[in-house]
């Protein structure tokens, strides 16, 4: 009896996700899933750009320090830098990974619509074609797990271009779950490590300033008060993940900690995987709950980043 009841629920749920009336009801959470994925992608790219900026800021101050203490032959005030952690090209490659994630979410939205035509618009189709070509040319070769990532991106791009194989969101979510998880796990490992790199660069600048301030104090005595104040003003704005007030209690400083920002970003990436799993499982209430969680986490990460960048 209980088996029959479960079976009935399963049939009803599956029918709900694929029938016309069900589609219109499921379209709202899938629309939110799409928006959430786009927000997370934007946050990820902001974070990666911040990694490069922290690296470049640190290089500028290190070069100025070396010249000031007689270790460097000259100084450079142009602000040009050669990133050592993450280059523009590497950021561009990760942009393609984010494009794959958003393309997938866009296709899910198209599949959930009640329209006969479930294909993506021409711009998205072009993006999918380009991504497919990029992955097939081994464009992700400088990522860890490159071969698997390439296969995952090709899978997603082909799914986005598909017009027959994926007729409903549940089948699509099941088929793409492992590809999605692989891309997200790769990004999460990188985010955690890049956050360490950002922290290292920020502290490097502080130690750099302390070294110079000790020297100027010997020469300028009490007047070095103003050197300390000026150094603090630079330190307030040096973190590309957000500027800080003149002085804050330790409890407020975690907001500016790169590892904290990476953790938040990673939890919003995880929320994409969980929302996709809920779609694959086919329970409408599960989808709504997981999508709400995704939207909340994406918004929190976005709010934090925009607040910090003010």
């Amino acid at each position: 009896m209980r088996f029959l009841a479960n079976r009935t629920v399963l049939i009803l749920t599956t029918g709900f996700l694929t029938s016309c009336s069900g589609l219109s009801q499921i379209q709202t959470p899938i629309n939110q899933f799409d928006q959430g994925a786009h927000s997370v992608a934007t946050n990820e790219m902001t974070f990666l750009k911040a990694v490069e900026t922290a690296d470049c800021n640190s290089q500028f101050y290190a070069s100025a320090h070396d010249w000031a203490v007689g270790k460097g032959a000259n100084f450079d005030i142009t602000g040009t830098c050669n990133p050592t952690i993450l280059t523009d090209q590497q950021i561009q490659i990760r942009q393609q990974l984010m494009d794959a994630l958003t393309l997938y979410a866009d296709k899910m939205l198209a599949l959930s619509s009640s329209d006969e035509n479930k294909t993506l618009d021409s711009n998205s189709q072009q993006l999918a074609t380009n991504l497919n070509a990029f992955a097939k040319q081994q464009g992700f070769s400088n990522l860890s797990a490159a071969t698997d990532i390439e296969a995952a991106v090709i899978g997603i791009a082909e799914m986005a271009l598909d017009q027959k194989r994926f007729a409903d969101i549940q089948t699509a979510a099941k088929s793409m779950a492992s590809s999605l998880k692989l891309i997200i796990d790769t990004l999460k490992t990188e985010n955690t490590n890049f956050a360490l790199g950002v922290s290292s660069k920020l502290d490097q600048t502080e130690i750099n300033f302390r070294d110079i301030l000790m020297n100027t104090h010997k020469q300028r005595g009490a007047m070095s008060f103003f050197d300390v104040v000026e150094a603090r003003q630079v330190m307030q704005s040096i973190n590309p993940l957000g500027s800080s007030p003149l002085a804050t209690p330790p409890s407020s400083q975690t907001a500016y900690d790169p590892s904290h920002v990476a953790d938040q970003l990673n939890s919003s990436l995880d929320a994409i995987v969980k929302a996709n799993q809920a779609i694959a499982d086919g329970s409408t209430s599960g989808i709504i709950a997981a999508v709400n969680d995704l939207v909340t986490r994406a918004k929190a990460a976005q709010t934090d980043q925009s607040t910090l960048n003010k």
């Binding site: 290190a62 203490v69 050592t84 952690i85 590497q90 070769s141 400088n142 990522l143 860890s144 797990a145 490159a146 071969t147 490992t189 990188e190 955690t192 490590n193 890049f194 360490l196 790199g197 922290s199 290292s200 660069k201 502290d203 490097q204 502080e206 130690i207 750099n208 302390r210 070294d211 000790m214 020297n215 010997k218």
Partner: protein
């Protein structure tokens, strides 16, 4: 492509180096001697270079390039061994010095497994 265990060792080494840097940072904040401060800065820079090198190695997938990068990392790691005596001389607080040395030893251990 680096195997999963190698990626784990790189990640663990990076985390240990960052812990050593955090302890060094504390030592710098407590230091009022310009000579020692300059030495702490030099040690910190050494660790920062190693961390940057590790983050680069993490992204390498070509086996030959990965092998070359890990050889370089192991060479850098060996130079950390000689830094340990220096660290104890420039960090006034013995507990902090021991903590920096301990984290560096952990990092060297992970790097040597690569």
């Amino acid at each position: 492509m680096p195997a999963t265990d190698k990626i784990k060792n790189i990640t663990s080494a990076a985390a240990s180096i960052r812990q050593a840097q955090a302890s060094l940072m504390q030592a710098s904040r407590l230091c009022s001697d310009p000579v020692k401060s300059a030495k702490i800065f030099a040690e910190y820079n050494h660790l920062d270079s190693a961390l940057t090198q590790l983050l680069h190695t993490l992204a390498i997938t070509d086996d030959a390039a990965f092998s070359a990068a890990t050889t370089l990392l192991k060479q850098s790691a060996q130079s950390f061994q000689s830094d340990q005596t220096q660290l104890q001389a420039i960090i006034d607080d013995a507990k902090t010095a021991a903590s920096v040395v301990s984290y560096i030893t952990q990092a060297v251990g992970f790097i040597m497994k690569l």
